[in-house]
């Protein structure tokens, strides 16, 4: 039988030295933003019951989860997401606490992606959840935390902002079933204009139909609101749009310019989100690195209805980019290698400790002879060898 003892499963990888330093640096910067704003860390189990992720509208497909069974035959999964376990945890462990609660997490999620696509099946994520608060102040708190977090790790980024109710309200005015609505949603999500037009041509023309038709093209700066206002006037989407404009204007003092994009075609996981939704991109990374929004219906699934909003950041993608940016130095070499003559080992170790205390990178040589120590230093490119004794 073939033994797979020297490779890691597809979509996973080892992290070595500089990769770990870069990851720690990226996570550290984001963590500073989170803790500075009063978010407290939680850790949820790697394994959860399958049922946690199959709540209505979770948006997580059966085939994307790694499954196993416990000793009673119950279905377990490697968490594919951190928000649902946190909702479970809050509804049981924190059901008596004073609201709102601010939580953050730093843990991997696991997704069983299609094979040979180069996608990662183990992804480190950091994110926050603000539970038990609704309204514009809560939304601004989440959004500005997202902006601070992404700008702490990148200069050239975009945050796009949308509202789940825009599509919900417009599609509720159409005479369509759930299946048809989902097909429309998918074509808006992928900005597939021709598919969307084909679908909408089957419906009787009305204000809502033409509004839905223009959703994927309604992205950009503040001018989007002018266009959208005209298109959505008199429809149920008008309120959501007005609210979104208010949020957008509130962010004006941040001077984000074209870094802040409005996208009314942002309809990902649209049954899960109930209010603002947003996504973050960083120049040089081909996929969204941040995504989140308001999900006020989720906690009622766990019998503790309350407002909730949050976001997750794909820190792995940012780590990879940080590493490839040439100006970052993650050399793991010590500046000084200290060799002890026989009988002077502890003296040398104390010397190394004192150097390290002064902020110098020093290392005690564990090789038995000075010759070998020098050869090692030469091979690794360590310029300074000091001898004690």
């Amino acid at each position: 039988m073939k033994k797979y003892l020297k490779i890691t499963p597809e979509g996973t990888k080892d992290f070595l030295f500089a990769e770990c330093s870069a990851m720690e640096e990226v996570c550290g910067k984001i963590e500073n933003v989170f803790t500075g704003r009063g978010f407290k860390r939680v850790i949820t189990p790697f394994l959860e019951f399958y049922d946690v992720f199959t709540v209505p509208n979770s948006g997580i497909t059966q085939e994307s989860m790694f499954k196993s069974v416990d000793n009673k035959g119950r279905l377990l999964v490697a968490r594919p997401d951190s928000t649902l376990p946190i909702a479970r945890m809050v509804s049981t462990r924190l059901n008596n606490s004073t609201l709102p609660v601010r939580l953050y997490y730093k843990q991997a999620v696991y997704r069983n992606n299609p094979t040979l696509t180069g996608r990662r099946n183990e992804l480190m994520q950091m994110g926050i959840e603000l539970l038990g608060a609704k309204g514009i102040r809560a939304d601004l708190e989440i959004l500005t935390t997202a902006i601070s977090a992404i700008s702490s790790v990148a200069d050239d980024y975009r945050i796009e902002l949308g509202h789940a109710e825009v599509f919900d309200a417009l599609s509720s005015e159409l005479d369509i079933d759930e299946d048809f609505k989902e097909r429309i949603r998918l074509s808006i999500e992928s900005k597939n204009y021709s598919a969307l037009n084909n679908l909408l041509d089957k419906l009787a023309p009305c204000k809502a139909v033409s509004a839905v038709r223009s959703l994927p093209s309604l992205f950009g700066g503040e001018e989007v609101f002018d266009k959208a206002k005209e298109i959505c006037e008199g429809t149920k989407a008008a309120d959501a749009l007005k609210y979104l404009h208010k949020v957008y204007n509130s962010l004006a003092p941040f001077n984000l310019g074209d870094k802040l994009i409005i996208d009314l075609g942002l309809v990902q996981r649209n049954d899960y989100y109930t209010g603002i939704v947003f996504t973050g991109y960083i120049n040089g990374i081909g996929d969204a690195v941040l995504s989140g929004g308001r999900y006020d219906n989720l906690l009622s699934v766990f019998d503790m209805p309350m407002g909730a909003a949050g976001f997750a950041i794909d820190t792995d993608a940012i780590t990879i980019k940080t590493l490839s940016d040439a100006n970052n130095d993650y050399s793991d070499n010590p500046d000084i290698l200290v060799f002890a003559q026989d009988g002077h080992e502890i003296e040398a170790i104390n010397y190394v400790n004192s150097l390290n205390k002064d902020g110098k990178k020093a290392q005690f040589s564990v090789l038995p002879t000075l010759e070998e120590t020098k050869e090692f230093a030469h091979n690794r490119g360590i310029s300074n060898v000091e001898v004690i004794g």
Binding site: P114, T117, G118, D156, R158, E160, S190, K191, N192, Y193, S194, A195, F219, G220, I261, D263, T279, Y281, I282, N283, I285, G286, D287, A288
Partner: protein, 209 residues
């Protein structure tokens, strides 16, 4: 910032796209005299094109190493997943069809039917929609052979003129879907380079009309 990079499907779609670029006014001499090069500048160094096999166009765009791509809807349906589909370019038109031997009663009887195809995902989706269990066998070359030698009851394949089918005694019994070339975009690129991409998209859209 880097130039926009566009992945083109090698062959006929590449030629059609180049014609479109020239119609808009971009100089494409480098692409026409490419030799063995795979990355080529277009116009006055306005952007560059990359030549790739159809399915790879999607892969390059999905991973964001190319901002845009030109690829057939057939490849999109078969390989799918996350990118923006911005424009129907109107060329490379053909259709997916279900075909059988002439006169064969495909939907008759209770026997589970066997389908030979180069496009297993398209085939699976088509019969899933009908709630019909079929056995799908992937074939790499001339799919028309499979029903003739008795491997399959029918085929799902791209049909342009239908002459190959006719010459082998096969006939289309149902059209699956229409196909044409599409302009696709990486999701992050569209957000990060909105102006450039929209400008090109609008020019292309105007030129296809």
């Amino acid at each position: 910032m880097n130039k926009l990079r566009i992945a083109l499907t090698k062959g006929r779609l590449e030629k059609n796209t180049i014609e479109l670029f020239e119609k808009i006014g971009y100089n494409c001499d480098e692409v026409k005299n490419k030799g063995r090069r795979l990355i080529l500048p277009v116009g006055n160094d306005d952007f560059e094109v990359v030549l790739a096999k159809a399915a790879d166009v999607i892969t390059y765009v999905e991973h964001g190493v190319c901002d845009l791509g030109v690829v057939g809807k057939d490849t999109i349906l078969e390989n799918g997943s996350s990118f923006y589909e911005l424009l129907d370019l109107g060329f490379g038109k053909c259709r997916f069809a279900l075909a059988t031997k002439k006169g064969y009663d495909f939907y008759g009887g209770y026997k589970t039917k066997t389908i030979a195809t180069k496009y297993p995902n398209v085939t699976r989706a088509f019969f899933d929609e009908k709630n019909m269990d079929v056995r799908i066998i992937k074939i790499e070359g001339s799919v028309e052979l499979a029903p003739l030698v008795g491997l399959a009851d029918g085929i799902v394949d791209i049909v342009e003129t239908g002459s190959t089918l006719k010459a082998n005694g096969l006939e289309v019994i149902e059209w699956v879907t229409d196909i044409s070339a599409r302009l696709i975009a990486n999701t992050a690129s569209l957000k990060l380079r909105k102006k450039e991409i929209e400008e090109l998209q609008n020019k292309l859209e105007a030129a296809t009309k």
